[in-house]
């Protein structure tokens, strides 16, 4: 099924298939376009391939032997296929950041967590790093809560704060695309709320792809929604359309809770 | 400045003397010279000596033809220094009341190769002995003591039963004999004297009808402890003697050997023997005075010392 081309394309997955090292095909020829500065949500039952798809965007699968991509993901404006073997996955990850399901700060200070992306990029100037750390923490709506204890261990933050710290860490390097893999599933409702608000603000600056198992969350935060099932993209469209008038039976069944 | 090192190895029978000399020499030198003393056994010591790995080797028998050949092939010449007399002591458990004396023939019955697996009870040695299992301890095959004992008792060096507990470490033999009521073992006199409270020595009857002789200093000096009294030696490498510390060590030994030998439990040689040896050392008179095959059993050391070296 063809997605309706939205505003401006930031990234386009074309005939993307993916095989895990054990030979299992987890994605089946997926075509999907991420609209520039929009939030695209991926929903679908457990094991349908949402995380697998998301992790193609920063070549996370390259970390493990035997995994294999087919097809391409072209990112704009420079029209590069980030799955191409000539492209170093590290370069891809420098442009496309990711936030994980469980908050995973490094066991270092809050400051060092946010600064890490810059250090990896060889930035040495203390003043520049200071600025960027503050900017990122403000962007992640965490600055006011931690500005007095930047050098405290990140583990001492609450779960929600840790997750915002991970977002700040991802933001500090000005990524073009931000990937979220069920970013609130380990959080309580209040923390979830703050992360959702944050996503709403971030999309002004960056293109966002978010996996969620919570349909209501998808409805709340996203502009576009893709429904996946057993490695296939079943339906894709504007979020309000998908949730009110799904075209496919499988989508409707899932949204109304007939399974999952 | 790295202190220089004298490397001594070889006979474990000689070890107590080597250890004592090493200790006193290092003290006298105030740490300027260091001495290592190993206990590889006479055979093991000669092997290392002829490979040039050590400076001095202790021996509880004279060098054998094969060993002389190995040294010659490696271009290693040596000076032979007699150290002391030893009464090769046959010892039994403290509670052993029956075997106060044994004849050479009985020792042969116990130790000959044919005894392997057969002679396992004291009663088989002498019908008057009690019914007591016989357990044997002795030096390992790298030992000069083993070579000497087998030669003296069996008539041919290396001929021995094999089912006894063999150790290069005479202390282990002492411990074995001390722990087992039916045990019998043999080793250098020094080890017996150091452990008199735990062992009993056996007097040896040289030939049928002869008188039993106990392994004592007096009997060794009197020349009556036969055939198990034997001389002990140091062999000093020519190449090592070019190093002053080795020469100093050797001289120190010749000056103090009599005192230290007595202290650790061996019979010092007559003073004359040390003087002759000092002369050999001074004049670099290399070679052994014991032609291969010449018996050392029952010889007077001064006479041998005067022989022409080979």
């Amino acid at each position: 099924m063809k997605p309706t081309a939205p505003t401006e394309a930031k990234a386009v997955a074309q005939n993307l298939s993916f095989y895990y090292g054990n030979g299992a095909q987890a994605l089946k020829s997926i075509n999907l376009t991420l609209a520039m500065n929009c939030v695209t949500a991926l929903i679908g039952p457990s094991g349908c391939g949402k995380s697998t798809f998301l992790r193609c965007f920063n070549r996370m699968h390259d970390l493990y032997p035997g995994n294999r991509y087919e097809g391409q993901i072209v990112i704009n404006p420079d029209s590069i296929n980030i799955l191409s073997p000539e492209i170093d996955p590290i370069e891809v990850r420098m442009r496309i950041s990711m936030v994980f399901q469980k908050p995973n700060p490094f066991p270092k200070s809050i400051y060092e967590n946010v600064a890490y992306g810059l250090r990896v990029r060889g930035v040495r100037q203390r003043a520049l790093i200071d600025d960027k750390v503050e900017e990122a923490l403000r962007g992640a709506a965490l600055w006011d809560e931690v500005k007095d204890r930047l050098h405290a261990l990140a583990f001492n933050l609450s779960g929600g704060q840790q997750q915002r710290l991970c977002i700040a860490r991802a933001l500090a390097t000005d990524p073009e695309i931000l990937l979220f893999d069920e970013p609130t599933s380990a959080l309580d409702p209040i923390a979830t709320d703050s992360i959702e608000n944050l996503i709403g603000q971030l999309k002004n600056k960056v293109t966002i792809l978010i996996v969620t198992h919570n349909m209501h969350q998808a409805a709340r935060v996203s502009d576009f929604t893709a429904f996946m099932h057993m490695g296939e993209l079943v339906e894709f469209g504007a979020t309000d359309v998908i949730f009110t008038t799904p075209k496919q039976k499988r989508t409707e069944d899932y949204i109304t809770g007939r399974y999952g | 400045q790295t202190p220089t090192t004298v490397r001594v190895d070889g006979s474990s029978t000689v070890f107590p003397i080597s250890e004592a000399v090493a200790e006193e020499f290092q003290r006298a030198q105030r740490g300027a010279v260091r001495v290592t003393v190993g206990t590889s056994g006479t055979g093991g010591g000669f092997a290392r000596f002829c490979r040039g790995e050590i400076d001095i080797t202790g021996a509880s028998r004279p060098a054998r033809a094969a060993e002389l050949e190995a040294c010659r092939a490696a271009g290693i010449r040596f000076i032979e220094l007699p150290v002391a007399f030893d009464a090769l002591t046959v010892a039994v458990h403290r509670d052993n009341t029956w075997a106060r004396q044994l004849t050479v023939a009985q020792l042969r019955t116990i130790w000959e190769p044919a005894a392997t697996g057969r002679i396992t009870n004291w009663r088989q040695v002498d019908p008057s002995f009690p019914d007591q299992a016989l357990t044997l301890f002795g030096p390992g095959t790298a030992s000069g003591t083993f070579d000497y004992f087998t030669e003296a008792i069996m008539g041919r060096s290396g001929q021995s039963r094999t089912d006894f507990m063999a150790s290069e470490d005479d202390n282990v033999i002492v411990m074995g004999v001390a722990r087992d009521r039916g045990a019998l073992g043999y080793f250098g006199m020094a080890y017996y004297l150091a452990n008199q409270d735990r062992l009993r020595s056996v007097s040896v009857v040289p030939a049928a009808g002869g008188a039993a002789v106990a392994p004592t200093m007096d009997n060794v000096i009197a020349g009556t402890y036969q055939p198990l009294a034997r001389p002990l030696f140091f062999y000093v490498s020519e190449r090592a003697l070019q190093r002053p510390e080795v020469r100093q060590f050797s001289e120190f030994f010749l000056n103090n050997g009599a005192r230290l030998s007595r202290e650790v439990g061996f019979v010092p040689l007559p003073a004359e023997a040390y003087t002759i040896a000092a002369g050999h050392l001074r004049d670099n008179r290399f070679g052994t005075r014991f032609a291969a095959g010449t018996p050392t059993i029952g010889v007077r050391i001064q006479e041998v010392m005067q022989r022409e070296p080979r």
């Binding site: - | 206990t39 290392r48 190769p113 357990t135 390992g140 063999a166």
Partner: protein
């Protein structure tokens, strides 16, 4: 747009540095192979010298081992039986004690007891073997002599008993690991059925962890096989073809130590014989280790 594109220029210096580091690390990892090759080569080459003089048939079937004597016999059997006797005694001690300790620590012990006893038990494996040898010779043997009158001053029994104690921690900690790998929810499943701790431990946890526990026994056995100092000090150094543990007998390791103590000349058949014995020892432990690791992997795969 052009600035964006420039972000894709590969950084060569970084790549080169990474490659060099990676190569050094790789060489370090290869050291494991190098060591194995060295061990096997040395043992095999020297043993080949040995087997030029001694037929493998004699080596494996003769019941006398007297390579140092005038008329040498080269039957490895006495050394092997002594090794097996000592190891069996060790296992007879270590398997029940270690398994009980593991079951207790893993399934029964209150937190506080566990905190104290587990490290104390692990300490047993930290005791140097020469200390155990001292213990066996000067303490255990005299005590045993009071109980067993015919006991030799050097004997396999006390060496085996002490080896047993020394390998208890191997058995207990590895068995405990295996039992801990049994997921908590299986345990909860049993408790939820109304089972007691003993029923849960015995009917569910122990069988579930069995392959791991057997692996623990096997690896402990291989440690016992290779024990040197305890046997060299306490079991005697005389090759003795007997299964009677009250007798002295030299094990494979004790023979190597004994010969090494008396520096036999390089290149002689006596020298080569310790390598041949070493090769036998290596093969025995290798078989056990492979078996143990296979079993261990199996329980890891299940959960």
């Amino acid at each position: 747009m052009s600035t964006t594109r420039s972000r894709f220029h590969p950084q060569h210096s970084r790549h080169v540095k990474e490659r060099v580091v990676q190569f050094i690390l790789f060489l370090s990892a290869l050291s494991a192979i190098a060591i194995t090759v060295a061990v096997v080569t040395i043992l095999v080459v020297e043993s080949m010298g040995f087997f030029r003089h001694v037929s493998i048939w004699d080596f494996l079937t003769d019941t006398q081992w007297t390579p140092l004597f005038a008329e040498p016999r080269y039957g490895i059997l006495p050394l092997v039986t002594a090794t097996l006797v000592v190891t069996s005694i060790g296992l007879l001690v270590a398997v029940p004690l270690g398994t009980l300790a593991a079951l207790y620590l893993g399934e029964f012990a209150p937190h506080k007891v566990r905190e104290v006893c587990k490290p104390a038990l692990e300490m047993l494996s930290g005791v140097p073997s020469v200390v155990y040898g001292y213990f066996a010779l000067l303490l255990v043997t005299p005590v045993l002599t009071l109980i067993i009158p015919g006991l030799s001053g050097f004997n396999m029994l006390s060496a085996g008993l002490v080896i047993g104690v020394s390998i208890v921690p191997f058995v207990s900690s590895m068995s405990e690991d295996a039992m801990r790998a049994v997921p908590m929810d299986i345990r909860e499943g049993s408790y939820a059925m109304g089972a007691t701790r003993l029923q849960t431990a015995w009917y569910v946890v122990f069988p579930a962890a069995l392959s791991g526990i057997v692996a623990a026994y096997i690896l402990a056995m291989s440690v016992a096989l290779g024990q040197t100092m305890i046997v060299a000090i306490a079991a005697g150094q005389q090759a003795n073809f007997t299964l009677d543990p009250t007798q002295p007998a030299a094990t494979l390791t004790a023979y190597i130590a004994q010969v090494a103590l008396g520096d036999v000349a390089h290149g002689t058949i006596e020298y080569q014989s310790i390598f041949a014995v070493g090769l036998v020892l290596l093969l025995m432990t290798l078989v056990l280790n492979i078996l143990g690791h296979y079993l261990r992997r199996r329980y890891r795969e299940v959960y």
